[in-house]
Amino acid sequence: MKRRDFLKHSIFAIAGAGVPLSALQLVDPKELFAARPELRWIFLVDTYKCVGCGFCVKACKTENDTPYDANVTRTWVERYVMTQEGKTYADSPKGARDGFTTSKIDLGRGNYREIKEGEIEQGFFVPKLCNQCDNPPCVQVCPVGATYKAPDGVVLVDRKWCIGCGYCIMGCPYGVRFFHPEHHVAEKCNFCYHRIHQGMKTACVDACPYGARRIGNLRDPDDPVTRVVMTQRVGVLKDEFGTKPQAFYIGLNREVR
């Protein structure tokens, strides 16, 4: 081989290696279109309005046939109490299925802590549910294609396809997924998919007397929920994970995890 040829080939090889794999991928028009369909479900939680009654949890468990007495639930409400000393207490007994009826904080293992009224700096409730992330880590880890992001953004689980390996339960940074005690597959909140596609709101939204929970369509600029998300100061949970969660919160602070 001549030196000239050697240099020529080397330049080609280096230039070829420099092209990222994604640049060689053909653009799929269907995929581009899916990036902006006319429907993308989002959720809005106003933590100022929540009173911790837990009607949402009760309605969710009944609506979605989650075993009522098993300690699993698709949505739950957390209580946060911050004292003047700077300590933070958080609990969610039974996922707040029966609401919060006592000021004793459940520390687990049968231990409770009563915090006197004068010591409390802040006390509030935070409803939690699936964030229907734009980059759902639970979907990436599924080895069989049983969980996926539907075209309208909701992450669903195919009960016939799930093998119950539990990777997704570990993969969700929000602890939203659990193992369904009866179906023996992964289970999660899906924004009451049957209700929202039959023109209704989710069971938790309907059950909330204070309007702390709302559901909307991000692609509709006139949607009242979209307007709030676009024009007001809203936060998301664990932004640093890069999951792009689509459940937005009014009144979050750093103690809420």
């Binding site: 029966d98 006390g123 669903l156 059950a207």
Partner: protein, 156 residues
Amino acid sequence: MKSHVWRPLWVFLAIVAVILLARVFLVPEDFGVHETGYMYGWYREGNVQEWKDPQPKYLGAVYCAECHEEKTTGRDASPHGAIQCENCHGPALGHPDDPPALAIDRSRELCLRCHAWLPYPTSGRMAIPGIDPQSHNPGEECSSCHDPHHPNLEEM
């Protein structure tokens, strides 16, 4: 090509062929990469419809008003007007055929969900009239004194 080296290759190829053939029959046609791309959109498309199909159990106050108009009119004026009927009366699916009567939750625990007094200044809870469940007529059903549909303390 008759050699002990080649024979395992044919066996291997046969196994691969059987697996590929089985795949054709076992994997449904609608399973594959869909709109949301390979990373998040690899699924059985029929499942989306399966999740849309179930009948909702909670039907909302509009459904209740179809028959029980006398109970639902004027509801908005009541302090309890924002509470859905089914929160206490139970989900309406099937009613009035099956079940003919709904199981009403009249328990003290149900009222305490909101009316147990909690000292949380940065939540909406403090705005609700609250009691101490230990000292306020313990063991009594709230509805024996209070009307849950029109819970006006002055009208008691």
